[in-house]
């Protein structure tokens, strides 16, 4: 098995993983915002393919999904955006979406397009370990890493999940949906210790992270920090002019994370 491109994201200290919803506020602006994240120092980009009913998302990303759909974002439109991005950056890119749009597109067609345009992985919050078999073969054929999530409630499941995991492990910091949290109460060190026992893959922490202090602290114990809602909030606030604010935010977060070294 050759090493996936996603591993590159974790070569230079703790990785900053930034999320935006594709097509929010428009596909052209999403592309600008993603390039701004790369300039700001993002090591891996997560692009959300919008879905009408994102049950794992809090209100901020729900609203972004609806904005993107209202602005006409389609799966093909997002693939075209990735193709353009790939002419400008080799930063690893993963999709985050729900199973229905992928199922509707057709599994074979969808992952073939991922391979062709340069998408390195996919996160599907409604595809737990028990159902992953449905996609494991086809994602592997097309060199797309099917990324597994681990939650605070996963304890006895971690070993099984880790054994099949690809790319990196996405540690869900808290119970509940995505969204900015003032405090993360889960014992992340204990959770990470269980993960490290079971897997060699890098482990990144997401859900609720927004402040420099949180990023700094989590970068000390985890291999990556995933930030979604805080970036999407900037996009909601600044709209078409969000690129500059996002770049600045990502740069400050990444700087906070490297202060540990």
């Amino acid at each position: 098995m050759c090493m996936s491109k996603i591993a590159n994201a974790f070569q230079n200290g703790a990785a900053f993983i930034g999320f935006v919803t594709g097509g929010d506020p428009s596909l052209a602006k999403s592309e600008e915002i993603i390039l701004a994240m790369v300039r700001g120092g993002a090591d891996l980009i997560e692009i959300g393919i919008p879905f009408s009913d994102p049950i794992a998302e809090g209100s901020v990303i729900q609203a972004a999904n609806l904005r993107a759909l209202a602005a006409g974002a389609t799966v093909d439109g997002i693939f075209a955006m990735v193709r353009c991005l790939r002419e400008k950056t080799q930063t690893p890119i993963v999709f985050l979406t729900y199973l229905n749009p992928v199922h509707h597109y057709g599994y074979e067609a969808f992952f073939a397009r991922c391979e062709e345009t340069g998408v390195d992985g996919i996160i599907l919050p409604d595809l737990p370990f028990e159902e992953q078999e449905e996609l494991r073969g086809i994602t592997a054929v097309h060199g797309v890493d099917l990324i597994s999530l681990i939650a605070p409630t996963s304890a006895q499941r971690i070993a099984r999940i880790a054994a099949q995991a690809r790319g990196f492990l996405y540690l869900v910091s808290s119970m509940g949906v995505t969204g900015v949290r003032s405090e993360i109460t889960t014992d992340l060190s204990a959770m990470l210790a269980l993960v490290r026992e079971a897997a060699r893959l890098p482990a990144a922490v997401g859900f609720g992270i927004h402040s420099l202090a949180q990023a700094k602290e989590i970068a000390r114990i985890a291999d990556g920090v995933i930030v979604g809602s805080a970036i999407v909030k900037l996009v909601a606030q600044y709209g078409d002019d969000a690129a500059e604010a996002v770049e600045d935010y990502v740069r400050r977060m990444k700087a906070a994370m490297t202060q540990n070294e």
Partner: protein, 394 residues
């Protein structure tokens, strides 16, 4: 067949955060479903509190008016809280207690499931929160007040289309945040395994009784059983014990709203496609991008873009038929049943009454059909009046 599947339908398509809880629920259900104490307690509640067994009523005037097969009504509308929903809710609330939960949450469309859940919570001393689309809280304002009277907190859902689908989304989101003391009392034969099985099993009391009752009355099986279908719990309830009787036609009546060609409907089998949503693989109304489509029906209880996986399997294997019924046909049937039998049924159930009006005259007089009258219609009277242009103040 994989665990938790009906053919290729069903499954457990939910966030990792819920998987542990879903496994705990499955284990608890498997432990208690054969437990004599649990079943003793449930059966006592169904009998003494809900009023079971429900009547199988021979609708003689309706039969004469239609001039064909004898029509029997399975009177779930006479249950405590006025619908079949109580059958499932009592089972799940007892299960939640056995699991050590102190709080239940539930989605509701028309409000029947919310009222039933709030009722069971009041009786069994559970804290209760209901999620209801804001549009539905306005359509069914009396049911909101009813739930509050019973001690529940009602949260209007303002995301998405503000109807049943969004209420399910929001209840799932609440459950992901808090599983340690909370059970999600899912209201239909949908969602991730084991919910479709649990709800179907608790509702199957309807056909267990109906099969015995019709054999006692007619000494032979009915030609058909009919029920309305949103998620499909009363339909699975009335179908389950007839599935292995191949001579009995199983007919589900889904909401065609303004008509299936208008785009304003909730006819999942007629117009939906296979997909994955709300934890299950099944048929869903969706657009050309795989986005869940906004649906519409005069009936808040059928206003749902999906259908339970057991129905998807019964349809895909040809065992059951699904027929779309428009708002107009349902309202006509609602009035017809009121005039001929003196029964005001739920607008949901009126979709099945409409099907019977077409089917019964095509069958010989020595045959019978059973119609599951899933709920009573008090909640719908004002809406039907408005539909007919009559200004009624509740």
């Amino acid at each position: 067949m994989k665990t938790g599947r009906f053919g290729s339908f069903g499954g457990q398509y939910i966030p990792e955060t819920l998987m542990n809880e879903i496994h705990a629920l499955e284990a608890a259900y498997n432990r208690y479903k054969e437990d004599p104490d649990f079943n003793g307690e449930l059966n006592a509640l169904l009998r003494d509190y809900a009023g079971r067994p429900s009547l199988l009523y021979y609708a003689e005037k309706m039969t004469r008016a239609l001039g064909g097969a004898k029509i029997y009504l399975k009177r779930e509308d006479l249950n405590h809280t006025g619908s079949h929903k109580i059958n499932n809710v009592l089972g799940q609330a007892l299960l939640a207690k056995r699991m050590g939960k102190t709080r239940v949450i539930a989605e509701t469309g028309a409000g029947q499931h919310g009222v039933a859940t709030a009722t069971a919570a009041a009786l069994l001393d559970l804290e209760c929160e209901i999620f209801m689309g804001r549009e539905d809280t306005e359509r069914q304002a009396l049911n909101v007040y009813r739930m509050e009277l019973l001690g529940a907190r009602v949260n209007p859902v303002v995301s998405g289309t503000m109807t049943l689908k969004d209420a399910v989304n929001e209840t799932m989101r609440e459950w992901v945040s808090r599983t340690h003391d909370t059970h999600y009392v899912l209201g239909s034969v949908m969602g991730p395994h084991p919910f479709p099985t649990i709800v179907g099993d608790f509702q199957s009391v309807i056909s267990r009784e109906a099969r015995e009752q019709i054999l006692a009355r007619e000494s032979k099986l009915p030609a058909a059983v009919l029920a309305c279908v949103g998620g499909g719990s009363n339909a699975i309830g009335i179908f389950r014990h007839f599935v292995r009787d191949p001579s009995v036609r199983l007919i589900g009546c889904e909401a065609a709203g303004r008509g299936i060609e208008t785009g304003r409907h909730a006819a999942t089998i007629a117009k939906g496609e296979i997909g994955v949503f709300h934890g299950m693989k099944s048929y869903f109304c969706q657009d050309d991008q795989g986005q869940i489509a906004p649906v519409y029906s005069i009936s808040a209880g059928l206003d749902y873009p999906g259908i339970g996986p057991e129905h998807a399997h019964l349809y895909a294997t040809g065992r059951a038929e699904y027929v779309p019924v428009t708002d107009d046909e349902a309202v006509d049937a609602f009035e017809f049943l009121a005039h001929t039998e003196g029964i005001i049924c739920a607008i949901e159930s009126a979709h099945a009454v409409a099907c019977v009006r077409t089917l019964a005259p095509q069958l010989p007089k020595d045959e019978s059909v059973i119609l599951c009258l899933s709920g009573r219609g008090d909640k719908d009277v004002a809406a039907i009046a408005r539909y007919r242009g009559v200004n009624v103040h509740e």
